[in-house]
């Protein structure tokens, strides 16, 4: 969806990186199987996390296999073999991609609207195939939460916390569906925080563009004249506040990630993602591009 939810690769063990890629490839193949070949174009990192978290919580141990895939014909790729969790993540990915596109369809103008119109039909097809393996009420539940979000956005809600919380609810539902007890609680916390984080990062990323285009942006609505400088960049005030509030919000996510079963092979990847990957995304959003050296100098610097 957005690309903020990734581990900090240089800090993964080589084995962990291979496993992460295998989940990613496994999800891609699951999408081809469950929601059709075209849906593989919508593959995203966010749903890779969904798949990893659900595999940990459901106690699914990934089985690996090698395969030569059409997108990368030169070298065999390792992927995670078909399992229920991957199918679930694939179906959810299709449903959310469809609903997101419907939003764009209704709200956007110009080129983006054109793209949304073109994508509508294939996405609807994917969604219909995805829905088959999901509980009947799932699309409606997600839709009602998304509707609440667009209501707030239309009303120009000035509170980032309120709008972000609604998006957090969407992901909390997606992470939790079908789980119960303690796993459901952990999944819910993780989903909620990831949703909020992604939403706020997205708002910060789009701040300048949204103001220029006259679109709603939760940060712009809250900060008013203080949101951007005269030459059209994010002010230090906004940056300074996000630099503190984003990590504070992540504290709860850290506690949930610490509760994940430490013996599961995917847990170290999720913890890397939470503690290093998300802060790195935050820095990318607030300060622009990652440094040319991939951040290695900063990472090895002594404190």
């Amino acid at each position: 969806m957005f690309g903020y939810v990734r581990p900090l690769v240089p800090q993964l063990k080589v084995m962990e990186y291979e496993m992460y890629r295998a989940v990613y490839c496994g999800l891609c193949r699951a999408m081809g199987r469950v929601t059709g070949q075209a849906s593989r174009m919508t593959l995203s990192y966010d749903f890779t996390l969904l798949a990893m978290v659900r595999m940990i919580l459901e106690g699914t141990v990934p089985e690996f296999e090698q395969f030569r895939c059409a997108a990368h014909p030169l070298k065999k790729r390792t992927y995670v073999r078909e399992n229920g969790v991957l199918d679930y993540a694939a179906a959810m990915s299709a449903v959310l991609a469809y609903l997101k596109n419907r939003d764009d369809f209704a709200d956007e103008h110009g080129a983006k609207k054109g793209r949304a119109v073109l994508a509508e039909l294939p996405l609807r097809g994917m969604q219909m195939r995805g829905v088959r393996i999901l509980p009947e009420e799932a699309p409606g539940e997600i839709l009602s939460r998304m509707a609440r979000l667009s209501e707030l956005e239309k009303a120009g809600c000035p509170s980032v916390d309120e709008t972000a919380a609604v998006f957090g609810d969407v992901l909390a539902y997606v992470f939790t569906l079908g789980l119960d007890g303690e796993s459901a609680e952990t999944a819910c916390t993780i989903g909620r925080h990831i949703g909020r984080f992604v939403y706020v990062c997205d708002a910060a990323d789009d701040l300048v563009g949204d103001i220029r285009a006259g679109r709603y942006n939760p940060l712009a609505a809250g900060w008013g004249d203080l949101a951007v400088t005269e030459d059209g960049t994010m002010t230090d005030l906004v940056r300074g506040s996000l630099e503190v509030s984003l990590p504070l919000d992540l504290e709860g996510l850290g506690r949930a990630a610490d509760r994940l079963n430490a013996a599961h092979p995917l847990t170290p990847i999720v913890r890397n993602l939470v503690y290093l990957g998300l802060p790195a995304s935050m820095r990318r959003v607030l300060y622009g591009k990652e440094p040319e050296d991939g951040g290695l100098s900063a990472m090895t610097m002594t404190e």
Binding site: V160, G222, S241, L242, S245, L248
Partner: protein, 202 residues
């Protein structure tokens, strides 16, 4: 009132860094998020948290005084404004009552102090994005106010500690961890884990 050093569980000779660390660990331990769904435990945790915050503030004030800079004035200046009642309610932990007054303040009277108090109340609720906006605006409107700046710095410090335990526990990066000093820091971290139960494996 209890000795603030005792509240934080540090000795009087502790360095500023040690005090910060102790404060951060306690703040994390008694954070309201940990007690979701357990109202009774949450209420007592809130009281403890208040005591911890006061203790930390007191130590900071005391140490700043020793350092030669005096900033006692900023703590009394607020008594004259209409927000006196709000401060009283906050100090008693009656946040929803305080919020009622704050939210009914006409927009013309929403200056630096209003933003600061609103920020404090939002922090209490875990609305960090809006809270930091308010506190940032308070500092912007009244750049010389130490109370607002300190509130901001305290949150900033807590934020900068995000992931510290993870990095210490997994020895990420930092080649100087081989050094004696770092090993000592590492041991210290592990000891704290036993007491604070931050990392279940040690």
């Amino acid at each position: 009132m209890r000795d603030p050093y005792q509240v934080l569980g540090v000795s009087r000779s502790a360095t500023d860094e040690e005090i910060k660390k102790a404060y951060r660990n306690l703040a994390r331990q008694y954070h309201p998020d940990n007690f979701a769904g357990k109202p009774e435990a949450a209420a007592s945790a809130e009281a403890v948290m208040k005591e911890i915050n006061e203790a930390y503030d007191n130590i900071q004030k005391e140490r700043a005084g020793k350092g030669g800079t005096s900033h006692g004035t900023s703590y009394t200046s607020s008594g004259t404004t209409s927000f006196y009642e709000v401060r009283r309610l906050i100090s008693q932990g009656l946040y929803s009552d305080a919020e009622l007054i704050i939210d009914s303040t006409p927009s013309g009277d929403r200056g630096a102090e209003w933003n600061y108090l609103k920020g404090c109340l939002l922090t209490q609720r875990g609305y960090y994005y809006d809270a930091l906006r308010c506190i940032e605006i308070a500092c912007y409107l009244d750049p010389n106010n130490l109370e607002y700046r300190e509130a901001k710095n305290r949150l900033k410090m807590r934020a900068s500690g995000f992931g510290d335990e993870y990095r210490t526990a997994t020895n990420v990066g930092n080649c100087d961890l081989c050094g004696t000093c770092s090993t000592l820091i590492c041991c210290d971290g592990c000891c704290e884990c036993c007491g604070g139960d931050l990392i279940s494996c040690c």
